[in-house]
Every structure is written in C-alpha cells, then in structure tokens.
C-alpha cells in the first residue's frame, strides 16, 4: 500500500470541494491581530464554509510553533518570520516544510520604553541613541520570538537610529502578555510587541510608545495564517475553506466602525485576550496616544482586510524576512529567496478562495514599499538588499543571545 497516494480515511469525499477534514484545531496568541480568526470561529463564518474551528489559545510563540510542527494544531495565527525560520531550520529546531495560507494583518505593533527612561528624558530616538553611544548604557530590549516580526521591527528600527541591535543593546524573549510586568519589575528597558500589550502598558503607566511598527514600514506584513505544508497538501479543501472563512470574517470586521467596536468587545473576553476594552478598542480604531501626551489618528493602524490587500501572501513579503535573517546573521548563507517564498506562500489556494468571495486579487505577487531608513523593497534583488545596510551582522555567527 506504500504506493497509494496519501490515503485518508475520508477518501470518499473526493470529487467534491467539501472540506476533507471539517473540524480543525486553530492556534492563536492573545493579540488584537488574531481578531479575524476568532470572529471566523465564533460568528458563523466557519460554519458557512463547512468547518468547525476549535480555538486553542497559546501562551508563547515557541509553544505554538511546536504544536504546529507536530500537527496538534492544524493551522495558526502566526508571526511571519516564525514560519520562515521553521521552514529554513533556524533557531534550534529541524527544518520542517511550512505554508503561509494568507496574511492576517498589517501594522499595529509598537516599541515602548520604560517609565525609568521616560523620567531620564529619553523620550525620542535621538535621546536613546545618545544614551547608548555617549553614556555607554547597556539597555535590554524584549521581543517575542528570536526570528519573529517583533525582533525584526526592533532591530530594523534601532539600526535606522544608528544603534546596532546585536552589539549596542541586549535582547531577550518575553511572551507578549508579560511585557508590562517585566517593565514594571525593571528587568527590561523597552520592548517591541503586538497590541493590545503596548497600549495596555501605557494605560497602566508602565512607559510610553516610542515608535509604531507602521512608522518603520507603513502597511508592513505581520501575522499570517500558517500551517505545515503537509496539511495544505493533504487537506486542500479544508485549507481553502479556512482561508474563505477568515477572509469573510476580516471583511465583516472592517465593514463598519460598529463592527470594529463589537470585535474589540468580543476580543476583550476572558476566553480570548482577557484584557480591558480600553486597552484594545482605541488602537484597533486607529486612535493612538503614546503616553507622552501626544494623540493622533493613525493612517496606518491595524489592517485586517483592506479589500484583500492585507491578506494576499505576497512573495516579496515572505522574502523580506529572509533578507533580514541574512542581514543579522541568522542565515549564514543566502537562501534561494524567490524559490523558498514560492514554496511557502500558497498563492494558488489564496487566489481561489479570494475569487470565490469576490475579493480582488492582484496578479502580481510583489509589492513595492518605502521603509523608515529610506530603503526601497520590491522583491527584485533580495541578495543586494540584504547587503545594502550599513549596520548588519552578515559575516558573523548567529549571536547566542538571539539564538535562544
């Protein structure tokens, strides 16, 4: 029987597009950007596509990764960078083929500094750079996963201010919901995290927001719906139905301000984020205040749908994370950037799902962006781009502190 094509107990449904596996275990972390996954699971979107989604809240990204690789989770709300690190075998786990089914959101992460730094008057990038370079302060920054998006935003932002993220400061990994407690205990001087945890720290008087991730890269890629490649291959109908359910939910959330507000209320529940509504709703609606007295309506706040622009798994988005892994020495050699992105990004499944919902799906899987340091990324020359930065760790072994 070894020659039989991937036999499943449900071979009898072949020939229809009904999900081969109708009940899926979906992992997520308690973050505002898991919204469309939670709404899809609880508000009847999954049912309409023949699925039952069993939501499994995870305590850390490392735990989520292990369950995704072992198959305990069928799919998960996941950091973009984490998927590529697992696929390439970076970070102490053997390489395991992964797939990105769709983008879940853009924007809405932030870098905060501690009240202690605030009291010292370190409330802008220049003051931070002075503190590090002229006064030789050794600061510790937390992010949420060594190869995750928060590590990459933190490194990119620090480097854009002339601070080398691996030489001039220390970094540690802390689960998102524990950032404020670590700041309060004085264990860290700043962190990069997803909302609502930056807003929540500001609300608790535990520091201020120094930079938003969208100020680094407006409409940057952030969380994705990830699964093991084997899942997408073995259950293509389930994977497509899952994309449809979550895409429809993300469209619903952005249909009106009322829907966004109800979404914030749902997320604040103890089963999901278990956080006061006041920490979730303002930034979900784009109302920012940084804890220093500045208020603004952010033009690049959380995007869960944006008419599908937040959801298309652009090849250039996936490739960007690999260029940063290379830049910081997490990859010692250049991968086949385009080839790997083509394997991981499930463009065909996504466009089938998007088309069936009438969601626009641009034919070109690359996009062009201008980042905070003036660099332009369009996916055309990843090899050159990875080498284009004045601060880097191209020639170094991966740092022990970030390889944990």
């Amino acid at each position: 029987m070894n020659t039989a094509p991937r036999a499943t107990p449900l071979a009898w449904v072949n020939g229809s597009d009904a999900p081969e596996k109708p009940s899926l275990n979906i992992g997520y972390m308690a973050l505002t950007d898991c919204a469309s996954v939670v709404v899809a699971a609880t508000q009847g979107f999954a049912q309409q596509h023949g699925l039952t989604l069993n939501l499994k809240r995870q305590g850390s990204w490392a735990g989520l990764r292990d369950k995704l690789v072992s198959g305990e989770l069928d799919a998960a709300h996941c950091l973009y960078g984490l998927v590529y690190a697992v696929h390439l075998g970076i970070g102490g786990v053997p390489a395991s083929d992964m797939a990105v089914l769709m983008g879940l959101n853009q924007n809405a992460q932030a870098i905060n500094l501690s009240p202690a730094l605030q009291r010292k008057g370190v409330t802008n990038p220049e003051a931070l750079a002075r503190l590090v370079h002229q006064h030789g302060a050794r600061l510790t920054f937390a992010q949420t996963f060594p190869t995750g998006t928060h590590a990459m935003w933190l490194y990119y932002w620090l480097a854009s201010q002339g601070i080398h993220p691996l030489r001039d400061v220390d970094s540690v990994v802390v689960p998102p919901a524990q950032m404020a407690a670590h700041i309060q205990a004085g264990r860290i001087d700043g962190f990069c995290v997803g909302e609502p945890w930056a807003a929540d720290a500001v609300a608790k008087g535990q520091g201020f927001t120094l930079a938003t991730s969208q100020s680094i890269w407006p409409d940057h890629p952030e969380k994705v719906l990830a699964c093991a490649r084997a899942f997408a291959e073995q259950y293509p109908n389930s994977a497509r139905a899952l994309i449809k359910a979550i895409l429809a939910a993300s469209r619903f959330i952005e249909q009106s301000p009322e829907n966004r507000r109800s979404t914030a209320q749902l997320l604040s529940g103890s089963a999901y984020l278990d956080t006061p509504l006041e920490s979730i709703e303002p930034r979900l609606l784009g109302h920012y205040h940084d804890g220093l007295g500045n208020h603004w309506q952010d033009r690049h706040a959380l995007r869960l749908f944006d008419h599908g622009r937040a959801n298309l798994p652009y090849l250039s988005d996936g490739m960007w994370f690999m260029t940063q892994f290379r830049r910081w020495g997490l990859l010692r050699e250049d991968p086949d950037y385009l080839g790997v992105a083509r394997q991981v990004q499930q463009l065909a499944l996504y466009s089938e799902a998007a088309q069936s919902l009438g969601v626009a799906c641009p034919s070109l899987p690359m996009r062009s962006s201008l980042l905070i340091d003036g660099s332009c990324w369009d996916g055309s020359d990843p090899y050159g781009y990875a080498r284009s930065f004045s601060l880097h760790a191209l020639g170094e072994l991966p740092d022990a502190r970030v390889g944990a």
Binding site: G44, Q47, L266
Partner: protein
C-alpha cells in the same frame, strides 16, 4: 507492553487464549465471562485492547460490545467458533474491530492486534469528523432559522440580519449560535 483485557466467555473455560497471549509477551488481565459490567471493567483495567473469547457471540456479548464502544471506546477483538457471516456482520456493526474465527496461534496474535488497533483508530477519527459535520449542520440550521425570524421581525434583508446577530453576539462575548438560540426561544415564548 500492550495491556490486554481478556474475557473468557467459552463454555468450558479452556483458557485457550491466555497461554498464547502470555507466550507472545502481552500484559494480560483476565475477567470471567460476560456477566460482568464490561465498560466498568474497561475503566478499571484501562487496557489497550479488549479480547473476547466466545463460543458464539450472543445478544449479551453484542450488548456489552455496544456499551464499550459508546462509553469506553477501545479496539475489540472477538475470537469465536461461530462461522455464520450474519453473526459476524452484527458483531462488526456493534463495534468489533476484528472478528477471528478459530485458529489461535501465538505467532498470529501480534499482526491481528496491530490490524485491529489501526482499524479502531481510523474508525474513531472518522466518527469524530462525522460528529463534527452533524453538529455543524445542526447549528447552521438553527442560525438560518433565527436569521429568518429576525428578517421578519426587523423587516430587513439577510445580510442585515446576520450583521445584527453578529454584533449582538460579539458585544456580549458570545458565539453566533448562542444568540440564534436566544432569538428562537424568545420567539417561541412570544408565540
């Protein structure tokens, strides 16, 4: 080591299987015939496999098999002298994973148990998926029903009705199905 619960339901209590099982290196717990409460026995012994040795599986045997399949699902292997295909079909329907007529050799036990366990696992997975499908369908029907009631009450279209129900559910941190049930019971009460 595989733990086996052995039920000897043969008339002469020959213990024909026990020796073969021990010889093949299994951890065997023996229980007398099927006058016992099999689900309770399975719960205490927590075996990997249940083996029933019986001259002919009568209604009592089938009933116990059905109960175990429902309350304490385990792979069940039935050894018997009964050749009747009708009886065999009944036994499989009751939840037996393997039906073995005669021919008990120590060397054959392992592959028989392997097949029975694999069969059991795939049956269980299938069953779980079917349950999920049924539940989904039932919930979908209830949500459709509530949506229809709301469309009449609020004189709105389908999409508006869905949006109203979803907003209500989300702002109360509930699932859509919960709000659907509330609408249906409210409608029943108000007649």
């Amino acid at each position: 080591m595989l733990r086996i619960l052995l039920i000897d339901d043969t008339q002469h209590k020959l213990g024909r299987l026990k020796a073969a099982l021990i010889e093949a290196g299994f951890d065997v717990t023996e229980a007398p015939g099927l006058t016992i409460d099999l689900p309770a026995c399975v719960e205490t012994v927590r075996p990997d496999v249940v083996l029933i040795d019986t001259d002919s599986p009568d209604r009592d045997v089938m009933e116990q098999v059905v109960l175990v399949s429902r309350d304490q699902p385990r792979p069940i292997v039935l050894f018997t002298d009964e050749h009747d295909p009708g009886v065999m079909r009944q036994a499989i329907q009751a939840g037996v994973s393997a039906y073995i007529v005669e021919g008990i050799h120590a060397a054959r036990l392992q592959p028989i148990l392997d097949v029975a366990m694999a069969r059991f696992e795939s049956d269980q997975a299938l069953k779980a998926q079917l349950v999920a499908r049924d539940q989904q369908l039932a919930e979908r029907k209830r949500i459709e029903q509530a949506k229809g009631l709301l469309m009449k009450m609020k004189d709105c279209n389908e999409e508006q009705a869905y949006t109203l129900m979803r907003r209500q559910a989300m702002s109360r941190q509930q699932k859509l199905i919960q709000v659907a049930e509330q609408i249906i019971s409210m409608h029943e009460m108000l007649g």
